[in-house]
C-alpha cells in the first residue's frame, strides 16, 4: 500500500525529468566545421574591444561565438559571430 503510494509519487516526479533537459539555444547557427579551423576567441574580443565594446562573456552556441557585451553606445548586446570569418551573424528576429 505505502509502496504503491511512493511509486505514484516517484512517477509524478520523474515525469518532470524531460523538462530539465537542455541543449543549444537555436538563436543562431554557424556552419563552421571543426573547431580546429576556428580563429581564436581572443582575436574576436580584441577586435570588439577596439570598436569600444565592453565584453562580459563569450560562449560557443550553435557553432558560433556568442558574445555578451555593452556595445560602443553602452547598449546591452547578445551578438553572434562566425568563428572562421568573425563576421556578425544575424539572430532570430531581434
Amino acid at each position: 500500500m505505502s509502496r504503491r503510494i511512493t511509486n505514484a509519487a516517484l512517477a509524478a516526479a520523474l515525469s518532470l525529468v524531460p523538462f530539465a533537459m537542455a541543449g543549444a539555444t537555436g538563436l543562431a547557427t554557424c556552419d563552421s566545421g571543426s573547431p580546429d579551423t576556428w580563429q581564436p576567441q581572443e582575436k574576436l574580443t580584441a577586435m570588439l574591444k577596439e570598436k569600444g565594446w565592453e565584453i562580459r562573456n563569450v560562449k560557443v552556441d550553435g557553432g558560433c561565438y556568442e558574445v555578451y557585451a555593452l556595445d560602443e553606445k553602452k547598449e546591452r548586446v547578445e551578438a553572434y559571430f562566425h568563428p572562421v570569418t568573425l563576421e556578425r551573424v544575424e539572430t532570430a528576429s531581434e
Partner: protein, 187 residues
Amino acid sequence: MNEPAGPHRSIPVWDVAVRVLHWSLVLTVAAAWLTRHSPGRWHEWLGYATLAIVAARTAWGFIGAGYARFADFIRPVPVTAAYARDVLAHRDARYVGHNPLGGWMVAALLALVVSVGLTGWLYTTDRFWGVPWVEELHETLSDVLFAFVALHIAGVAFTSVRHRENLVAAMLHGRKRADVRDGPQHS
C-alpha cells in the same frame, strides 16, 4: 461521526484568489521555462509576471482569510518534523488546508520564484548584463525551483492517494471533503 450532514459533505477551502494565483503561477513559470532561449523579451515579461503573482499571493497570505493565510499553514519546525515522522510511520493526520510539509513547500516555492525572478532581472541591468556568475546563479536557482516543483507534485500525488482525495481537482474547484476528525475548520 456526529456530523449530521454525513461524511461526504464538502466545504469551500481554496478561495478564488488562491486558485487563480496558483494556476497563473504554474502557467507563467512553465512559459518562462519554455521561452528561456527565445528571441525578444517574452522571457523577461513572464519573469515580471511571476514576481507580480508572488507579490499578490504573499499579500493574500496576510490579508486573506481562512486557509489562504500563512498563519494557517506555516507551522513551527518541531510540529513539521513530527508530521514528517508521522508520514513515514503512515499515521499522518489529514489536513483540510495545507499540511505542515505542504505549508513549508508553499513558502519554499514562493521564495524560489522570487530568487529566480530577481537574479533574472539583475541580469538585464547594465551592471550585471552578461556576467557569468549571475547567469549561472539564475540557472541554478531555476533548477532548484523545478526540483521543488517535482517534489511538490510528488507530495500532492502522495497525499491524494494517502487520504483518497483528488488534491489537483480541489485546487481547481476549491472544495474539499469535510471531516470532523480533522479538528478546527475555518468557516
